[in-house]
């Protein structure tokens, strides 16, 4: 399983983390789930509602998520994952990330932003079907050509 994403979307989610530094950014990956992994067709920035602790927490309001989901459906896209940044912190999932992960089959992308500069970006697939058997599994990020882009 791999996360398939265009260079432009990959760069954009990393840039988002630099813009919000020293706070965490967050957003949604829209696309399609296929046999070889989740394919991202668009990323959508979201607001971080955790203004009380934005340097090490993020939360997307459910209503904003619903609106993103509605807009995605109009384009034939589903939510296939999320992204957020870890300011001055490794690009590894934290115990908080794991405890708050409930979107099975989706991909959680984390970018470490060190001193304002995006460093590593890792993708973790949430496997399992229940809170008891869920697990994060790191997966390769495969940069794909955008539609219409020459090989």
């Amino acid at each position: 399983m791999k996360l398939h994403i265009t260079q432009a979307d990959y760069d954009a989610l990393r840039a988002h983390g630099e813009e919000t530094y020293p706070h965490e950014c967050c957003g949604v990956l829209l696309g399609h789930a296929k046999d070889d992994g989740n394919h991202v067709s668009a990323i959508v920035r979201a607001g971080n509602t955790r203004t009380d602790s934005a340097h090490n927490r993020y939360n997307i309001s459910p209503m904003e998520l619903i609106k993103i989901q509605r807009e995605g459906r109009k384009q034939g896209l589903d939510i296939v994952g999320f992204y957020h940044s870890h300011p001055d912190h490794p690009a590894m999932w934290s115990s908080t990330d794991f405890a708050e992960a409930h979107w099975f089959g989706c991909c959680y992308v984390i970018t470490s932003v060190d001193k304002g500069k995006a460093n590593l970006t890792n993708a973790f697939h949430l496997s399992g079907t229940t809170e008891d058997d869920k697990a994060f599994q790191q997966e390769e990020i495969l940069i794909t050509k955008a539609v219409g882009e020459n090989a």
Partner: protein, 105 residues
């Protein structure tokens, strides 16, 4: 009414993104959904029948938890329910709140 199913729960609705059910209240709609797709029950509800804390249910644009009648709120055939699991996290440890931590796990 129409119930929108989030991607992680479609494994239990035969991959359907929306499910049509009949019911006069939010609770009746959810009950009808679970009756049609029993595997959803444990994902949506605690053993004592309450919505799991990370499962949000919206009636159109309103969070059902904050409606005056909550799950007993009346619905019409044109209404839309949306089940949306929460999305949150961050580098900090659970329960640590605003304190900065250095270790991931």
């Amino acid at each position: 009414m129409k119930i929108n199913i989030p991607t992680p729960l479609r494994a239990f609705t035969d991959k359907q993104a929306t499910v049509e059910v009949n019911g006069a209240t939010v609770q009746a709609g959810l009950d009808a959904l679970v009756a049609a797709h029993p595997e959803l029950k444990n994902h949506l509800f605690t053993p004592d029948g309450k919505l799991r804390s990370f499962v949000n249910v919206y009636l159109n644009d309103d969070d059902v938890r904050y409606l005056p009648a909550a799950e007993a709120s009346a619905v019409s055939a044109d209404d839309e329910l949306t089940i949306i699991p929460s999305i949150a996290g961050g580098a900090g440890r659970p329960g640590v709140g605003a304190s900065r931590v250095l270790c991931c796990r």
